[in-house]
């Protein structure tokens, strides 16, 4: 026996509301990547969470209606045509309006966040250390990431251009990451920091990060760059306390005193273009 038509809508609505609430609660338990080691990473996580929460009722609604329709309106023993449908102006207006509101809302939030990720001086709400911390408000720490086949090295122009095998950053600091390459296209991807930036020869590609937590992070190359691309990773990236950073950089300056490094340049060109020809 089929239910009378008028009970379908309320039944579906109640089921949709209940399942959506359960779905939203479940989705909010998920720890979305990339985490909260930097302000930018935390922003990305919360944006992903918001998008998942907003899309849960849509997903539940579509799947629920599909399953419900397949069960409730399945063909009976007697083959009969359903009633003719002439469209419904209210449904049309509603779905276009709701979709538009959701899309424009998400677009607004996404654009705002993209813009704020690249403003290195926005440091509201964070307590900085008292003794002139590195990368405090208005004085971003500069770090150059140099991609080469097949390793990333890191130069600190603020500290005499010393170069390091691993990326070490102080906590609670605004960092301006200048990404370049000495040969071909690489891509610098510091996963937990929420930074992915192309490393192109001759280009100074700038990304911003505001560290908020101490801990380690992974650096990978995110652009297929040759035979050892898959090995172009480093799990020894670290965000350390301001005092640990000062100690580390002082040690690096001591160690690298006699190391030949080229004069600091914002970008490097591969040279010569063709060897031996």
């Amino acid at each position: 026996m089929r239910s009378p038509n008028r009970t379908h809508a309320p039944r579906l609505l109640v089921a949709w509301a209940v399942l959506s609430v359960i779905g939203i609660v479940a989705v909010m338990q998920i720890q979305f990547p990339p985490g909260d080691q930097s302000r930018q990473a935390a922003d990305q996580s919360s944006l992903l969470s918001l998008m998942a929460v907003l899309s849960t009722p849509v997903f539940v609604g579509v799947v629920l209606f599909l399953i419900y329709a397949a069960l409730a309106f399945r063909r009976g023993k007697v083959l009969e045509d359903g009633p003719p449908s002439y469209g419904n102006i209210r449904v049309q207006v509603a779905w276009i309006a709701i979709t538009a509101v959701v899309v424009f809302f998400l677009a607004g939030i996404g654009i705002t966040q993209l813009a704020s990720a690249s403003s290195s001086t926005d440091f509201s709400g964070t307590q900085l250390g008292t003794s002139s911390p590195v990368g405090g408000a208005g004085q971003a720490l500069q770090v150059q990431v140099i991609g080469q086949q097949w390793y990333f090295t890191y130069r600190y122009p603020d500290f005499g251009g010393v170069e390091s095998l691993h990326l070490v950053l102080p906590v609670d600091a605004n960092v301006e990451i200048h990404v370049t390459s000495t040969d071909i296209l690489h891509s610098f991807w510091a996963y937990q920091l929420g930074v992915k930036a192309d490393a192109n020869p001759g280009v100074d590609n700038i990304a911003y990060v505001t560290t908020t937590h101490t801990g380690s992070f992974t650096v990978r190359c995110a652009e297929l760059c040759g035979i050892w691309h898959g090995n172009m990773s480093d799990t020894s990236g670290k965000v350390v306390s301001q005092s640990d950073f000062a100690t580390w950089v002082a040690q690096l300056q001591k160690d690298e005193k006699d190391t030949p490094v080229p004069p600091y340049a914002p970008a490097y060109f591969p040279s010569p273009r063709v060897k031996g020809s």
Partner: protein
Amino acid sequence: MGARLVVVLLATAALAALVAGFVIGFALRFPEPLAATPAQAGPGFSVQLETVAAVGTAIENPRPDDPHPTWVGYLPTTTLTVPANSLITITIHQEDTPSGLRNPYWATARGIEGGTFHMTYFDDKGNPQEGDFSAITDPANAAHTFAIPDLGVFVPLEGVNANAPPNSMNVISFSFRTGAPGVFHWQCFVPCGSGTIYGNGGPMQTLGYMGGFLVVQ
């Protein structure tokens, strides 16, 4: 109808087997491994390698039948098997001339025992010299590097001076410690792929020439 189906199935199976054989053959084409041998003096194990400008015409381990006899390469192989938790000494007979480092940072040795490598080389007058070094003096004089990035080992290899007698070689030796078993890649950081764009093609991109695996077991 049945016969046609059988023929189609057999043909498909034969084709699939061919493709699978090609892929497996390609994937398993590794250079023969070279095992570390117990060092003659003192504890540890040693490996001896040769770096040459053209693998077809090396002094010690030439590979005239190589598909790319003019490519630079490490000889006799680039798959090195070494024991875990041991002191490994690598001796490299370096016969190639300088190519130069693009990033001079790699001119300094890192991650090796004592921080220095021992090198016999030839000075600008072509006279043999010898000493312990923590870096090569001019990054432009690097012929190759021997680097195991995941073990933090980076060693520059000085090119043979243009004034050295013919068939000369620099002999570079250094030691590092292995930890737990694993497979690590090693490579050269000098863009030494002569004739390829930016020098990073050819032998730099092919297993068996300017990079390989260090199998720690």
